[in-house]
Structures are given as structure tokens and as C-alpha cells.
Amino acid sequence: MLSYAFRRLLSTIPVLWIAVTACFFVLRLAPGGPFDGERSLPPAILQNLAAHYNLDKPLIQQYLYYVGDLLRGDLGPSFSSEDFNVAQQIMIGLPYTFTLGMTAFALAIIIGVAVGCLGALYQNKMPDYVLGAMILVGVVFPNFLIAPILQLVFGIQLAWLPVGGWGDGSLKYLVLPVVVMALPHAGRISRITRGSMIEVMNQNFIRTAKAKGIGPRLTVMRHALKPAMMPVVSYLGPAASYLLTGSLVVESIFGLPGIGRYFINAALNRDYGMVLGTVIFYMVLIVFLNLIVDIAYAWLDPKVRNR
């Protein structure tokens, strides 16, 4: 298992290198540079800035510098922050993003699986319709619409929760952003769980369990849940990488620190170092999460394990 994991990680290095190289050169093709803006700087100042960041060197030389630094574990400077380099910014944002992402991830699984199971057990009955409709709201409405509505209702009208900010990081500050992040995933997880559960419940071994006289609750918990989770788990990999890379919308509406805004802002600002840094970070994270999914698969399904 360990050697398998190690080989998997090793095989991603060439992929990473190709991505970094492509990203490096494609970025430079984009019109506009990091120092273009409402105020054009005089040529002398631009020259100083270019020299400061090595942007006056030939592109291939800049690329070699970058890869050299990267091999030493240095992600380089960020043009939009003088006081924090790319690696420092990612390290600062990460704990916030992971706290939000993991909480949202857990919430999405709990709600999604519970609603999905109930839906399957009460297939085409009242609870299925009501829960299904409710969860659909979370899937259909985009987060930039849900977030302001929740802020208005719970932050201003009821005044139960803060409208935004991280505050001291206590639960009340997390509730709204976590719910906004978890809702669409909870919705999708519940749809997948429901479908899969219905299928499993019609299988022969469930019929056998029922025939042996095991109650419905035990049938689901002991026999049906584990096999029904297979498609859910394959969804969890992408969902986790989505949640753990943060959300631009959630961060900028709730005013939260985190890495979600880095990538898009950096791309818009032509902050080359930051774009590359986030791309590398995302790739490593996604590879890692996919590995975890594969391991979870092996644990859930003996057929996969013994292959």
C-alpha cells in the first residue's frame, strides 16, 4: 500500500512540471503586465520594477530562475504584496481555508448522506419530496445569491449571527460561510446517496437480510450503507479538493482570510508568481486527495482491494 502511494506521488512530478511550464509561458502571453493599471508608471520606474523582479531578462532565463527556485522550495515573490511572498501568503491563508473547508465538507457529508438515505427509504413518499425539494434549493441557487440572503436574514433581520468576518474564529462566525459552502455539495451527495441506496436496497443480499428478519434500521446501517457509499466516495475527492482550495465568492462576501481569492486575483493582477504558486498548490492537493479516495475505495470494497 505504501509503495503504491509513493509511486502514485512520484508519477505526478512530470505532470506537475508540464503544468508549471505551460502555465509559466501561457501567463506571459496574456496581454497586460503586472504593473499596468489606472496609473501608468513612468518608463524609468517600470524599468526599476522590471529589474527588481528579473522581468527584464529573456523569458527563458526567467523560466530557469523560476524552476531553480522552485527546486529549492522557493515559490518566489508576489507582485501584489511586498511584505509576504507567495509561500508565506499560502501558509497564512491555509489554516483558515482548511478550517472552513473541512467543516463544510463534514457538514455536507452528514446532511447529504442522511437526506439521501431518508429519501431512499421513503422513496416517492412525502419525506422524500420535501427533503429533495429543500436540498435542491442548495444545488440550484448559486452561492453568490444564497450568501447575501443568509446575511440579510440571520445577520441583520434576526441578528443571530455576525454578517461577516472571521472575528475570533468561534463557531458563530463560521456558521453562515460553512453553510453556504456545504449546501451545493450536500445536495449532490444526497442525490448520489439516494440513487445508490435505492439500487443497493434492491440487491439480493439485502433481500436475504430482510428475509432473515433484520429490522430496516439495522439492514441499512450494517448492510446497505457501506456498498451504497461507493459512488459517494468517488464524488468526495473532487468535492474535497473544491472545498479545500477555498472559495473566492465566500471569502469576498464574508470578508474571510483564505486562499480562495488568491488564484483569481493573481490572474487578474498578472501576479505571475502567485498564479504559479497556487496552481502548484492545487495540483499537489488534488493528487493527494485522489490518493485518499483510492485508499478509501479499497477499504470499502474488497473487490478493489484484492485486485
Binding site: 496574456a30 496581454p31 497586460g32 503586465g33 504593473f35 499596468d36 493599471g37 489606472e38 496609473r39 501608468s40 508608471l41 513612468p42 518608463p43 524609468a44 520606474i45 524599468q47 526599476n48 520594477l49 529589474a51 527588481h52 523582479y53 501584489s80 504584496s81 511586498e82 511584505d83 509576504f84 501568503q89 497564512i92 491563508g93 483558515y96 450568501a147 447575501p148 446575511q151 440579510l152 445577520g155 441583520i156 441578528a159 455576525p162 454578517v163 461577516g164 468576518g165 472571521w166 471569502e251 469576498s252 462576501i253 464574508f254 470578508g255 474571510l256 482570510p257 483564505g258 481569492r261 487578474l268 493582477n269 498578472r270
Partner: protein, 526 residues
Amino acid sequence: MYHFSKKFLATAMFGALLACSAHAATINIHNGGDPQSLDPQKLSGDWENRIAGDIFEGLVTEDAKVNPIPGQAESWTISDDGLVYTFKLRDGIKWSDGQPVTAGDFVFAFQRLMDPKAAADYAYLQYTIKNAEKINKGEIADASQLGVKAIDDKTLEITLENPTPYFINSLMHYTAYPVPKHLVEAKGADWVKIGTIVTNGPYKPVEWVPGSHVTTAKNDQYYGAANLKIDGAKFFVLEDQEAALKRYRAGEFDILTDFPTDQYEWMKKNLPGQAHVAPFSGLYYYVINSQTEPTKDKRVRQALSMAINREVIGPQILGTGELPAYSWVPPGTANYDEPSYVSWKDEPYKQKVEEAKKLLTEAGFGPSKPLTLQLKYNTNDNHKRIAVAIAAMWKPLGVNVELVNAETKVHYDQLQRGDVQVGRAGWLADYNDPDNFLNLLVTGVPMNYGRWSNAEYDKLIKDGNLEKDLKKRAELFKQAEKIALDDSAALPIYYYVSKNVVSPKISGFEDNVQDIHRTRWLSIKE
């Protein structure tokens, strides 16, 4: 010789004292984005300025209405030829670690600003200082040639290239803030980290969570610390203006430094007296290419300018009542009184359109040969609304407009390369002086996107900047402005307004044309 007395400061301080009799507390300010740095020589932008101006203080500082008042310097004298400024530093001024602030700290800071290796974005704002430009361009390697000298610890002498009437104003800018030489030399780039940084302003930074907020606390070493009514501020990062307004309504913010224009009517009704809309020294304008056809023809440029119904843009399209712009320099700019206006300013709109049609016909455009133009703007709802409206205003002239939008970086890249027929641009003054606007139309200046060039204009601006007599200088500038407007060098559209929302708990907030509101002049009632 001219001497700035302490009386001015005393009056200002006393005024502030009367205005703020509430007890101390902290204030929560919505500050848009994350600051680029806390290092005053590495900044550019408004978010940074709000923080930097609270934690550092230059030789000259601003009162609540952003008039220059003595800061770290208690007084100064100006030589008869207007070239040499001698500043006497205040007694007992200290950095927040208790070290004295000396003339040497200022010399160090100015040399650092001009060091080409430091690559300061805004170094050019202080090019008025002798040899500054040459040092910054690498033409002079010896930084001590800069016209900033410490006579002794308490006396600083600054020599200029030319007499510059706005020099005192430009010293309020953050590029002119001192930095602690002892710390920068010891720690290098890390001097600015929280926990290490020391400052000489009324406040000092104590916390920075990137993406969330910067917190400041009172600097007990500051000479005016006893008069501060507010103990510290939190500057919050929040890009979403709608969300910022909600947080304000929930009491999480005390001041919003911008708000969504479409909420203005609602705010007037529901938060009476809290939304502050005030004239701001900035100009929203359209660049027009004077080097390429068809806008090379002055008649075409003038026709397009005349047919813009400026009166409806502020009140109806934007909804925040921006004032129509018929001049290049916004009214209320210092050292200028009334700007020059376009000659057709007061004609009724119908007549303007008729004249515009005539001009276009003269230029050879008409139903048989319609004028087709590209109008470029950077992607933004308000820019789009205005572009659509102006395209509609040009339609009756027989002008077909193709609207092209691009993200900010791409848009300005196109403007700089001159790849534009008509394009949106804006200018916010760096310092309160007409030169800051008029310079945008001088031949060869990078911001002269329309590539308009007029030898007489260039000469008038140059002469004006060498003129010591402020009245004569203003006259020369006005002549130049008239030339630019008569030639429709660019199309001014409206003067910017500042948009703040201020909680009724706050007092001492004064609207001003530079939209600078230092925490030290504010107080808060709990």
C-alpha cells in the same frame, strides 16, 4: 522668508478637542482590499494610504480637512528663490520604540525612495527634489547627491530642482514619510513585519491577518497621543460592497469608504445623514486618439464631446449625483480657483447636438459615410452603463459605436500602446494641484493615451511650473487648459465624488476633496 507658526497647529488641535469629547474606543473601518505593504516607500493606492497615514507622519501632515499643518516638523522656512526648504523638527519626537526621530531618518527615507534597486512605484511623485529623478533613473549613483540633507538632528534641508508651489502639499504624501533608519539597517526588508515594525505616527500596527484586517493601537510615544480620542482602528478587507453595507447595518463597521451606487436612494431614506457624497479631486474622462483617423480631425473630437449629455450621467445613470465635467482640472483644486471651461458649456443640449452634427458634416461624415468608432472600457458595471448611454447619445449624429470591454490590465495595456479610438480612463489627484491633471496631456507623458500633442500647451505647462508667483502660474495653466479644451484633447465627462458611509456614533469626519480621513481627528460615542 515665510514662517509657519505653531499657532495653526494649536488651533487645529483645539478644534479637534472640542469636536471630540466622547470617551476612547476602537473604530472599525471598511478598507476594500489588502494593503500591498506597510512600508511607506513601497506603497501605491488608497487602502494603503488609510493605514500608512495613521501609523506614520511626515514633516507636514493633514488636518481633518486635509490642509497641510506641521507634522514632525514644527516649522519651516523657504528661501527667496523658492528652492531651499529648511525644516525644524519638533522637540521630543520619537519612534514607537522610544528612539528619537531625527533629520537623518528623513534623509534615509528619501534616499531609499529614490534608490533604483528599491523600485518604488511612486518615487516619481518626489522628482521635484534636486537630483531625485537622476538618482532614480540610475544616472547618478551617489545617493548623497539627493537634495535632502540633515544639517543636524533637528534640522532638515530640502533643495528642489525648480520652485514648486505644491511641494508642501506633496510632503503630506506617504512617499515622504520617514522610516526608522536604525531598524531598517538592522533588519532589512523584515523591519516592516508585525512585532518588529516601529512607526512615528499617532498609531502603530499590532496585527495583520492578510485577507481579513489590519489592527492599529495608540502609539504612546506620539507627541499628540494625549489628544487621541480613538485608541485604535481595525481596517477590514472586504471586496464586496453589498456585503460591506450589510456589515455596516449590523454594526460591524463604523465607516464604509465606498458603497454601491444603486443603494444610494435606499440609504438616503433608511440611513439618513450617514451616506456622505462629496466632490473629490478626480476626473472621469474618455481618451480620444488624436493621431489616427477619424478622430485625428479636431471637428470629429469636438462633435463627440459636445454630444455627450453630461447632465444626465451623474444624477440618472450613476445615481450618486456626480457633477458634469466641462473642464480638465476639477473645480476646487488648490492654487487654481476656477478652471477654464469648454466654450460651449452653457449652451442648451439641443443646440450642442445641432452644432455637433454640423461639425461632423464638415468633417465629411454623414448618412452616406457614417462614422464608425470603437469605444473601449475596462469591465465594470458603471463603465458599461456610461458607455452604453454615450453610444446612444452619439447615435443621432450618425455615429455607430462598437463597445469593447476588457479586464483592467488589458484595457490599460491597450491605452498605453495607443491601441484605442475612444477609451475610458480616470484620474485621481496624487496631490492637490492643477499640474497633477494638466501633466496628463503633455507630449510624451505615458498617461497621455490619446497622444495629443501641442507645443504651445507643453510650453505653457513648463513655464507655469517655473513660475513662482502663484497667480501668474495659475494664469499660464488656465491658458494651457483652454488650448486643450478648445482642441478637444480628451473628453472630460464627470468629476468624481467620494462616497463614504459614516455611523452617527462617529464625529469629526470632514468631507474633503482628497477623501482622506485620519483616525486621529475622529471620535466615537459608544
